[in-house]
Assembly symmetry: C2
Homo-oligomer: 204 residues x 2
Amino acid sequence: MQEYPKPLAKLITELQKLPTIGQKTAQRLAFFMLKLPDTETAQIAEAIAQVKQHLSYCDICGTITDTNPCYICTNPRRDRQVICVVEESDDLWAIERTNGYKGLYHVLGGVLSPLDGTGPDELGINTLFQRIRGATADREPVREVILATNWTTEGQATALYLIQHLETFEVAVTRIAYGIPVGGDLEYIDEVTLAKALEGRRKV
Amino acid sequence: MQEYPKPLAKLITELQKLPTIGQKTAQRLAFFMLKLPDTETAQIAEAIAQVKQHLSYCDICGTITDTNPCYICTNPRRDRQVICVVEESDDLWAIERTNGYKGLYHVLGGVLSPLDGTGPDELGINTLFQRIRGATADREPVREVILATNWTTEGQATALYLIQHLETFEVAVTRIAYGIPVGGDLEYIDEVTLAKALEGRRKV
C-alpha cells in the first residue's frame, strides 16, 4: 500500500489537531488546498502564523486585542460606569454583536476551577476589583457590574464568588437573564432552563 | 459594535475559503488557534504553506507525488502490465488503502466535460495511450486497463470515450463493479445502484 506523499500526510496530521476536524475532513481540506493557487494557500498559512503575533491582551479589560488598551476601553462613547464580566474574549464579541450594550467589559480568561488549579489569582479577578476601586487607568466610579459568565458549574461558581466579594463595594451587581431562547419551543427546552425561565418571570 | 481585531478577522475570512467551513466553524477554529502555543500554530501554517512546494505530478502516471517518477511507478514489485485509470490522486489513494491492487495507475486529473472545456487534451489521455503503446519509460506490454472513473455523467462519458479509443489497442479493458456496498441494506439503496447490482450479478 502506497501512503500519501509526506507533505500531504503532514498537512492531514496537522489539520486533525483542530476541533471538529477528523481524518476524513482533514483529507478533504488537504486535497482542496492542493488544488488552490499558491497565493491562496500562502494567505491562509500567513493568517494562521500571524494571528497571535499581532494580538495581545488589553491591560485594562483583558480582552484579546491588536491595540493596547483595546478599542472598547479607549472609546469615549462607551458608558464607563458599567462593566460586564465575561469568561472569554469570544463572549465579549458575542455580546458586541447584539449591538445592545454600550458599557465596558472585563474578560476573566477562564472560570474558577479548583480541580484545574484555576483560582482567583489566575483569572483577572483582582484587576476587576482594582478597576471598581478606581485604582486603574479608567478612573470613573463604577455603577454596575453585570455578571455574564456561562450557566455551567464553574461559570456559576465564578459568579457566586464575585457576588460574595463585590458585596463590600458600593456597586450594583446583576446577573444576565437565563430563560427560553427567542423562537424556542417550550416543549423542547430542557427542564433547568424552563425552571429558570419561570423563576425569572417578569410583570408585563 | 466592536469588530474582531484585524488579524483575527483575517484568519476567520481565510478559513471560510475552505470547503465545509462556514462562519461559525471558522470562528471556532480561529479561537482554538488563538489558544494554541505559538509552535503549534507555526506547524499548521508551515504544513499548509509547504504542501504544494514539495509536491509535483508524476511524469508517468500523473499522480501527486514528492518524488518523480512516483513510488508506485518506480516500485519493481508492482504488476506493470495492469493500469488502473482514475480521475484524481485521492481515488488512487482510496484504492491503495484497500491493499488489494498491485498494478500501476493512470491519473487523468479530471473528467471529460465539454461544458467546462475539458477535452481529451486537457486530461492525461494521450499519455495513457502512449504508455499502452510502450512509448514511455515503463516499457512492458500492458495486459489490462481498468477503468475506475466515478459513476457520474462525466465519469461515465470519460470511461466510454476510453473504451472506444482503446478498442484499437491489444489490451483488455475492464470497468470496476458497481453494486450494493458491503453492509448496505437493499431497502435503502437507490434504484440505479440496485439495477446495476442486478445487471452485474455473478454465479456463486
